[in-house]
Symmetry: C2
Subunit: 389 residues, 2 copies
């Protein structure tokens, strides 16, 4: 905790079974023209669409729609949505769905009044918007990405096979409000649930496995990881356990709303590997992360041994007495592996459709980050991907 930093996260969260009613509190704050953004239509099956539309109508809103936002929102879809939002003279983008829908809405929000090409400006040059930003509200139906309380937006460009996330610096790009009803997550298939749980866990890891200083953020991360491991085991046995699912939902938000990264460098290499895999296979995000995680962590462990030992002791209750740091650290990763298998996560890339002859290409499109314990070169990435197959 030595550096200089700013923290501001103004998103208003409404949490709980009764939270949707607070849409009535928020909507009057914005203009008449709302664009409702959603995915493949599951919200029509489970009734959320009808509930939201009724509230929008009751509040006298003029509603247009962007539907069919895919799990990895594409650049083409972004262009399409920007067009719809412009034509509707949008005052509020209301994202109803999971992280992809929320991410996508933020990408639309900074592009509606942008004169330049958003891919070029935000995803290749990583610039901040200098135009008006359309406010985003969110009704969250799936947990994992933390998108409901951050300024991140991942977009996939199929043409260049690049999946890039931009975490914007401006807190005005964070949703103005997010409605978190754990009940909405109960209809999610088990596979999606555990995939989301691993995504959450890995978000914390990405921020935890970096730095050697003494930092309160790492203690908060350990608390979040312990809560998540605890609740995930309950939810894995009974995915209708509201208490466990509500704790998972809340943990997901705090795992990636900038708090646990404060005054730290961060890693994000597992996400870079996973996103490269995602761009080539369109596999579920959390599973691309679980498949590459252990080969990656075992590879970098020697470069951040003290933190991996601390992880073993503080998160996995490994008894380190009489063990070398390396033994204790490996025992922590073994405990993590058991937990991952217990949840039924995908533990190798082959299961996701990646093949040996795709490795070089995936490695080529993997962005290399420099905040973790080891900056990887091409050969190291290839090695990790091969071990993940």
């Amino acid at each position: 905790m030595l550096g200089n930093f700013a923290y501001c996260n103004p998103t208003k969260l409404y949490f709980g079974e009764e939270s949707l009613q607070y849409l009535n509190t928020e909507l009057p704050k914005y203009g008449k023209n709302v664009v409702l953004v959603y995915g493949g239509g599951s919200i029509k099956k489970n009734g959320i669409y009808d509930e939201v539309l009724e509230i929008l109508n009751k509040n006298g809103k003029n509603v247009a729609e962007i539907s069919g936002v895919m799990p990895n929102p594409t650049l083409e879809k972004l262009y399409e949505g920007v067009e719809i939002a412009r034509n509707h003279k949008v005052d509020l983008l209301l994202a109803v769905g999971g992280g992809s829908v929320c991410d996508y809405s933020k990408a639309v929000s900074v592009s509606v009044h942008c004169d330049e090409d958003p891919w070029e400006k935000y995803y290749l040059k990583f610039e901040e918007p200098d135009c008006e930003i359309i406010p985003v509200g969110c009704v969250l139906t799936m947990v994992g990405t933390g998108s409901e309380m951050n300024a991140g937006a991942v977009i996939t460009n199929h043409e260049s096979r690049m999946k890039i996330g931009h975490v914007f610096a401006d807190e005005n790009i964070m949703p103005r409000f997010s409605i978190l009803n754990p009940k909405y997550t109960l209809t999610l298939p088990h596979y999606q649930m555990v995939s989301g749980i691993y995504d959450i866990f890995n978000h914390i890891c990405e921020q935890y496995f970096s730095g050697e200083d003494d930092n309160t953020s790492d203690y908060i991360s350990e608390g979040l990881m312990k809560s998540l491991i605890h609740s995930s085991r309950i939810a894995n046995k009974n995915d209708q356990d509201y208490e466990a699912r509500s704790n998972i939902m809340w943990t997901a938000t705090w795992a990636l709303n900038t708090l646990v990264a404060k005054a730290k460098s961060t890693d994000w290499m597992v996400h870079m590997l996973g996103q490269a895999v995602g761009a080539h296979t369109d596999a579920t995000h959390g599973m691309t992360l679980s498949a590459v995680s252990l080969p990656y962590y075992r590879y970098i462990m020697p470069y951040g041994l003290a933190k991996f030992k601390r992880f073993a002791v503080n998160v996995w209750d490994v008894d380190a007495s009489g063990k070398t740091d390396e033994q204790a650290a490996l025992e922590g990763l073994a405990a993590m592996e058991s937990w991952m298998k217990e949840l039924g996560l995908v533990m190798n890339l082959s299961e996701l459709g990646a093949t040996s002859d795709m490795v070089e290409e995936i490695a080529d499109s993997t962005l290399v980050m420099d905040g973790g314990y080891k900056i990887l070169d091409h050969n190291e990435i290839v090695k990790i991907l091969r071990e993940s197959l």
Copy 2:
């Protein structure tokens, strides 16, 4: 994590050695008339006053002052400040000091445009403001209260011997921005530092020792407590250790900015006891808490045994194997007691000037809260106070 709740904390925090310069970023957002609020003048000795005034002048502000805000701000002082702020047609209240100065500024902020008596409205009836609220900014020079990122404001009424804190519901009462420079805390006397550390620790305890459900907030609390214990030991040996002091500063903010109380009932009985003692002795806040804590926790332990056992294991690393829950829980409190003595905290009320014949009167003015493991009656309060003497 079962209930319904809202979370919103829009305070912008600037943290670190370079953070004061961000006053230049914030000041242009507000009108010309600034009231600078501070305490006994230590900021004049250490140069912060001059630095702040220079920035205010550079930004063309018209500055009035409220000085001499005391450690337990009084109602008379509140009336005086409201008068100054009204006459100055205040646009921004800039609190430069510790929690008392920041609390006081918030109390002024909701009173300037209030037609009713603020003591009556906010502290006896616990009403929310229905008038315009003056924005508050804060330059924090002392840590402990968390006032820099919450909507709480404690005021003492000497006439009725009541010290009452109102945590307002409206997030607009939270400081709009707070500047947290750990360097400013390095000049604080050791006694004040450890008193602040215990205040922080107890804030977490007040929110942790309640409820029997499964809640992510408790895991975050455990992380914060572990970080604080760790850093406090370093700072106690060397109070010029910037890293330890910066972690303590950051922990203090997150210990009381509403996060770890979410979806929980909370206790706050140690604060009620301590505040009653404070109103009778004017003793340092943190020390009133440390003096009553262990008699209180040992008394309520049987009513929340599972949580006290968890506290022992997760916070104090007590090995519970082969022990009854009660043995493990008591061992946790004993570890806490050792730590408190190590810091040199005041462990009894006599040292603070409280005498046996004051006990009944202190008990009479102790507000009884109902969120903890046991609702105390008058005799129980008297018993705890006598054990604290």
